[in-house]
């Protein structure tokens, strides 16, 4: 909770940030970040490349979290999310243009105040590094245009990847959610 108040403080003054999350606590921390956003914003876009939309909803249910303010973009499940009302399905994490179009569509139609993107490092499994860097750079430029905040979560162990270092240059702030 101390870490979340730390994150909340930075969110108030920062438009786009990279948040490094310890690998062992990654899943739980993402739930806490979601809860923080849920309590402080009216509309949130959650782009998920690591867990399917239905898995996220199930976790939110277990934590008694209302997820009605969320719109999900799911790049994980092939079909299951098509029946979930506030979820857009992107057929593959390879399809960067498709993902970009889906994000633009939600940002322009629903105008969320904040986007949670989990995670650029997962895109590297499916795409070339320079393509992911271009994608994130383009997305950050558009966040400024849409006047929305962006949080890119990255597992702590991916911090040394060149693409992540490149992204750090594009964002306003990099923070590490690690108890020292």
């Amino acid at each position: 909770m101390i870490l979340m108040s730390y994150l909340k403080k930075f969110l108030a003054t920062t438009q786009v940030m990279v948040v490094f999350v310890p690998n062992m606590e990654y899943k739980d921390t993402l739930v806490q970040i979601s809860d923080l956003l849920n309590k402080n914003y009216n509309k949130i876009l959650y782009v998920t490349l690591n867990r399917s939309c239905s898995a996220l909803i199930s976790t939110f249910d277990q934590n008694k979290m209302d997820y009605s303010k969320f719109h999900f973009i799911d790049c994980v499940a092939k079909n299951e999310s098509s029946s979930i009302e506030n979820c857009t399905h992107v057929p593959s994490p390879n399809a960067l243009i498709e993902l970009s179009l889906a994000i633009s569509d939600v940002m322009e139609s629903q105008k969320p105040e904040v986007m949670l993107f989990d995670s650029p490092s997962t895109l590297l499994i499916y795409n070339k590094e320079d393509h992911v860097t271009k994608f994130v750079h383009s997305l950050i430029s558009k966040l400024t245009m849409w006047d929305s905040k962006g949080i890119f979560t990255v597992p702590e162990e991916s911090a040394d990847i060149l693409m992540v270092k490149d992204i750090e240059m594009f964002v306003d702030k990099t923070i590490s959610l690690k108890v020292s």
Partner: protein
């Protein structure tokens, strides 16, 4: 008949409130926003090029259909697919009711046999008549095979690849295409000629000559990233207008081609 058509066209141009050139919008999604003039000048022939399944025919048909709905006269020459199949696919897949605009009299699909053209051209080259130049004779073949039912605002020729397949000799194909494109430009219509290339083309037509002869080249790409395929469209050359110099993403949806000029391409071309 063709002379009448050209005469009528001249009258139209002379009566046109002092403007010498007219630009016709392509009417394909937001494609016109990629060009400063928001359209293509009459009398220009544009090469629509791309790999298999990129949507070249959809682009041409969508443009032609929307033009016909807006009162323009369109002649669509098909050298590959039969007319009734084109109509069925366009209606079932994209909701373009070609038969309805045909009934209105603004749209005609004509099937042309590329093999017959190739044989006629070969005969001309083998048995040249003493009182006619080769060029004149080939022009006559073009007029006979691509006969126009009315004064067109648009002509589509789909495709040059089918035409080239009919020719055994690349030299005679090149000569014929040169005369054909010159002939098309006389109608002061906006003309699309379709050519199939490789998925990531190093040249934009089979023979390599079409891109020099035409006034513009539009390329449709399929980009492959891992298992996913994505699409991009690019204006490579356009004599009549300044244009965006980068490829732009597009999708083939149930409404036809949708273009996204504000989006970026991430993979290399």
């Amino acid at each position: 008949m063709e002379e009448d058509i050209l005469k009528n066209m001249e009258n139209v141009r002379h009566n046109d409130s002092g403007l010498d050139v007219e630009f016709l919008p392509t009417r394909v999604s937001t494609f016109d926003h990629l060009m400063d003039k928001r359209g293509i000048e009459r009398g220009n022939t544009i090469l629509i090029s791309g790999g298999c399944g990129t949507g070249k025919s959809i682009f041409c048909m969508q443009s032609s259909y929307n033009a016909a709905l807006n009162g323009e006269k369109v002649v669509y020459f098909t050298l590959e697919e039969e007319g009734h199949k084109i109509k069925r696919h366009m209606k079932n897949n994209f909701g373009l009711d070609i038969a309805a605009v045909e009934k209105e009299g603004n749209f005609v699909i004509q099937e042309v046999d590329p093999i017959k053209i190739a044989i006629d051209v070969r005969n001309v080259l083998l048995n040249q008549l003493p009182d006619l130049s080769v060029e004149k004779e080939l022009e006559i073949i073009g007029k006979t095979k691509f006969e126009l039912p009315f004064h067109p605002d648009r002509i589509v020729l789909d495709s040059l690849s089918a035409l080239s397949a009919g020719f055994k000799d690349p030299e005679s194909y090149r000569l014929y295409v040169k005369i054909l494109i010159k002939n098309l430009n006389k109608y002061e219509s906006v003309n699309f000629v379709v050519s199939e290339t490789e998925q990531e083309p190093s040249r934009y037509s089979r023979s390599g000559i079409e891109e020099f002869l035409t006034d513009g080249v539009i390329i449709l790409y399929t980009l492959r990233e891992g298992l996913a395929r994505e699409r991009a469209i690019e204006i490579v050359k356009l004599r009549c207008s300044n244009h965006i110099m980068t490829p732009v993403p597009y999708k083939i949806t149930d409404k036809g081609i949708e273009i996204y000029p504000k989006e970026d391409i991430f993979a290399g071309l």
